[in-house]
Symmetry: C2
Subunit: 455 residues, 2 copies
C-alpha cells in the first residue's frame, strides 16, 4: 500500500529532512525590520530551490515588500493550495536566548528532542512538514499530489502585500481548498483543526506634549508630561472585571453557541496547568468567562509595547516631548477591524488634556474567521490526523490571528483547513523558540496521510 | 578703582574666556553612562590645570565614582567655597540636535549670541563664569580672593560620592559661606538669588508578570500583561485636579507664607509666556495653585521614563515578561525623601494584581532646602548683582533640586548662596542646549562684583 511506503520513507529520511530545516532556520528572515530585507529574499530563493528540486514549477514573485514564493505541481486529484510563511519575528531581547537564534540545534526538551532557533515552530518548521511530505511522496510514487504552494514573507509584519497579490493572481492561486500550517496541537498527542480564528488590529499611538524635552526641575509640575497622559489613558483600557472600556467594543461579539461551549468543556482544558507553564496562576481576562473563551471566542486589547523619556542606565529628570505605545486588539465574530480602530482612536482623543496631541499609525487589520466545516475534506483530514496521532483530532478555536484564512475566503472564495503541530511551550515570538522533533516527524507523516485522504 | 580694572579686563578678555569654555565643552563628560568614565576624568584634569594656572593649589581627588576637583587660594578676607559640576546630561535623542553636542559654536540666539553645546549652561558655562572672574581678578590685582573651589563630576547622576567626600574632608572644605552657580536668572536682565530649593527622590520600578515573553495570540486575554499593570498604576499617580495620589504625600508640605506669596506675585511672572516657550498653554499642576507655586513651593510626581515590550520598527504581538518606569518626586518643606519613597512603594505594591511582582531601585534622595537670608552676604550679593544687571536682583524659589546646598548645611554647617545666569530657554537636559553670551559675560562680571562686595 503506497501510503505506507511514503510513511516509511519519511521515517527513513527524517535526519536529512531535519538538516534541510536547519538550513532554512539559519536564514535571518526577520520581515518587520528593514535591515533584514536581503535575508528575507534569501529565504524565498531557498524555498524556490526546494520546490524546483521536487519537480514543481516554482518562482519568486515580487511585491512592494518581501517576495512571495509560488509553486505548481502537475499532479491530479483534488487541488489544494498550501500556505506557509518564511519570515520570522525579531529576536530581541537577545540576552535571554541560551544560544544564537539563527544557529539551530537539536536539544533535549520537556517531551523529547526539540529543534531550537527563531522560526523553528513559527513557521519554518511547520511549513517544512508539508514540503518534506511532498518530497517523500515524490520519492515513492514518482508523481506529486495536485498542489499549489504559496509561501509569504510578511506574515509577521501584517501581510501588507498579500491581498493585492491574491487579487492580481486569483485564477492562478484558486484551488478546491486551502491548507494552512501555522497552528498547534490541542494537547500533547492530540492534533487539532482550527475552525474559528480571532482577527487582529494593530495600532501605534504617539502622544505629543511640550515642543521639546524639558528639565523636570525647571518645568516639573507646571508642564504636561506625555507619559503621564499615555499611562492615564492606557491604564483605563480595562476595568477591574477585565472588560475593555472602548465604547462599542463588544457590539458585534456573539455569544458562544451552547453546543460549542459543551464541546469545549469536554476537551477538559486545564487553565491552571496552561498558565503554570508561563509562571502565572489565574486567567486575567473577563472574570465571567472561562479561560478557553478568553483564548478563543472573546476579543482582547493588549499593550504590546510602550516607550518614552529616558530609558537608559542611571537616571535623567526629563519631561519628554512625546510618549509612544503599540496596542493590538484580537477580534471575534463580526467585529469590524476598521470600526474598532476608529472607536479606539475616538476613545483616546476624547481623553486628551489641553496641550497634548495624538498621532495614530495603523499596523494591519483583519477580521475574525469561521471555517465551513461542512466540507467533507474536514472530516477526511480529521480521520487522517486521528490515524497518525495517539488521540483523535479535535475541532478547536484559535486565539491567534491568521488573517490569510479570511483573505482566501474573500478573494479566492476558498475555504481553509488550519492544521499545525506547534505546542504551547514552543515560545514562538519569544526567546529560545523551539519545535518538538515529534511535531516535525509526525507532522510530515500527517500531511502524507491527509494528502492521501483528500486527494 | 581696582574693581573697575577687573571688569575692564573681563571685557577685554571675553574672547579668550570663551575659547577656554569651548575647550571644556568638547570633553564628553556624561556621568550617568559608564561608557564616558575616561571623559569625566579628562574634564576633572582640565579643571585642575585651569586652577593651577591661576595660582591655586588644585588636585584631583578620587571617589568610588567620578573624581572631585578641589582647589585652594592663599587669599585673605571672607572665605568662600565655590561649587560647580563638570559632568553633563546624556545627549539622546541625538537626532534632535542641530549639531554635534560636543562641538560647541557661537550662534545667533533669540536674545543675541549664544554658545551651543551639551553643558554650555548646565553647568560648565556657569562654572566657568566664576573661574574666569578669578582669572581677571588675579591678572589685575596679582592675588586671588579667599576661595576654596569644589567641582563635582556626579551631579547629573545623583551625587553618590558627594556626602562621603564632604564628611571625610570637613575641615578642608569648610568656609564662611558657599557660592553655588547652577541656577538661572529670574527673567531677561533680572538676576536672582535662590532662597528655597525643592528636593528630589528618584525611583525605578520593574513589574514582572509571565516568566517569559508571550505571543498575544496564544496567551492574549488569559495572561496578565505587565504593561497593562504598570500603566494602570502610574495612570493613577495624579487625579483630575493634578494632585498626587500617593497616601501621606502632602503630609509635610507647608503653606506658602503670605509675605512670600505677595513678593512672588509682585514679580509679575507670566505663566503663559513661560509655557508658550515650550509649546504649551496651561499649567498642568494642582489646579488650585499658581504657576509659580507649582514650580517653586509645591511637590510633584513625574514619570521620567517608561519602557516595555516591543519598541522597534513595525509591530510585534508580544506580551512582555516585564515593564519598567523611572519615576521622580520633587519635594518641598519637610517632606522626608525616604518616607516619600516608602509611601510610593507601598502604594504601588497595594495595587499589584495576583500574578505580578514588583522590583524597586532607588536613584538618589535629597530633601528640600531653605536658605538663611539673614546672613549679610545675601544683601551684599543682591546689591552687587543689581549693580551689574539692568534690573534689581530678586530672591526667588527654585523648581530644580540642588541637594548640595542641603549637604553643605548638614555636613559643613555652612549656608549657601545660589546665584546663576541660566535662562529658561537654555534647553538644559534637552537637545541643542545653549548659554547666552550675555549670561557668560555678565556672569563673569557679576562674580567679580560679588567677590569684591563680600570679600
Amino acid at each position: 500500500m503506497s501510503l505506507n511506503a511514503v510513511l516509511s520513507r519519511i521515517d527513513a529520511d527524517i535526519d536529512t529532512s531535519t538538516d534541510r530545516l536547519k538550513d532554512l532556520l539559519r536564514i535571518q528572515s526577520i520581515s518587520t525590520d528593514p535591515a533584514y530585507k536581503a535575508q528575507c529574499r534569501a529565504a524565498a530563493e531557498w524555498l524556490v530551490a526546494q520546490l524546483t528540486e521536487l519537480g514543481a514549477e516554482a518562482s519568486i514573485r515580487e511585491t512592494p515588500g518581501h517576495p512571495m514564493v509560488v509553486g505548481h505541481t502537475n499532479g491530479t486529484g483534488r487541488h489544494v493550495l498550501f500556505y506557509g510563511h518564511y519570515d520570522v519575528q525579531p529576536v530581541d531581547p537577545l540576552h535571554l536566548w541560551a544560544r544564537d537564534p539563527f544557529d539551530p540545534a537539536i536539544e533535549d526538551g520537556a517531551d523529547g528532542k526539540v529543534i531550537r532557533g527563531r522560526g523553528a515552530s513559527d513557521d519554518k518548521g511547520q511549513l517544512m512538514t508539508f514540503v518534506e511530505a511532498c518530497r517523500a511522496w515524490k520519492a515513492e510514487r514518482g508523481d506529486l499530489p495536485n498542489v499549489t504552494f504559496l509561501f509569504e514573507g510578511e506574515e509577521e509584519s501584517g501581510s501588507p502585500s498579500l491581498v493585492p497579490f491574491l487579487k492580481d493572481n486569483t485564477e492562478e492561486l484558486k484551488a478546491d481548498i486551502a491548507l494552512i500550517c501555522d497552528t498547534g496541537l490541542f494537547a500533547e498527542d492530540t492534533p487539532a483543526i482550527v475552525t474559528m480564528l480571532r482577527g487582529l488590529v494593530g495600532e501605534e499611538i504617539t502622544v505629543h506634549g511640550p515642543s521639546k524635552d524639558l528639565h523636570s526641575g525647571l518645568y516639573g509640575g507646571v508642564s504636561m508630561n506625555p507619559i503621564r497622559v499615555l499611562t492615564r489613558i492606557l491604564g483605563g483600557l480595562h476595568d477591574d472585571e477585565g472588560r475593555v472600556q472602548v465604547p462599542h467594543f463588544y457590539d458585534a461579539v456573539p455569544e458562544l453557541p451552547e453546543q460549542l461551549r459543551a464541546q469545549w468543556e469536554a476537551l477538559g482544558f486545564d487553565a491552571h496547568r496552561f498558565l503554570e507553564g508561563v509562571g502565572l496562576k489565574s486567567p486575567a481576562g473577563e472574570r465571567d468567562r472561562t479561560a478557553l473563551e478568553q483564548l478563543w471566542s472573546r476579543p482582547t486589547a493588549e499593550i504590546n509595547g510602550i516607550w518614552g523619556g529616558y530609558t537608559g542606565a542611571g537616571f535623567k529628570t526629563v519631561l519628554p516631548a512625546e510618549a509612544h505605545a503599540k496596542v493590538s486588539f484580537r477580534l471575534v465574530g463580526q467585529q469590524n477591524p476598521h470600526e474598532i480602530r476608529e472607536h479606539f482612536r475616538k476613545w483616546v482623543e476624547a481623553q486628551l488634556p489641553e496641550d497634548c496631541t495624538v498621532e495614530f499609525h495603523a499596523h494591519g487589520a483583519s477580521p475574525a474567521s469561521q471555517m465551513a466545516i461542512g466540507d467533507p475534506a474536514f472530516e477526511s483530514a480529521r480521520r487522517a490526523l486521528s490515524d497518525e496521532w495517539p488521540h483523535d483530532a479535535a475541532y478547536v478555536g484559535g486565539g491567534g490571528s491568521i488573517p490569510i484564512a479570511g483573505y482566501f475566503k474573500t478573494h479566492l472564495e476558498m475555504d481553509s483547513m488550519l492544521i499545525g503541530f506547534g505546542k504551547d511551550d514552543d515560545q514562538i515570538h519569544s526567546p529560545n523558540e523551539k519545535y518538538d522533533m515529534k511535531s516535525f516527524h509526525r507532522g510530515i507523516r500527517s500531511w502524507a496521510r491527509i494528502l492521501d485522504a483528500i486527494g
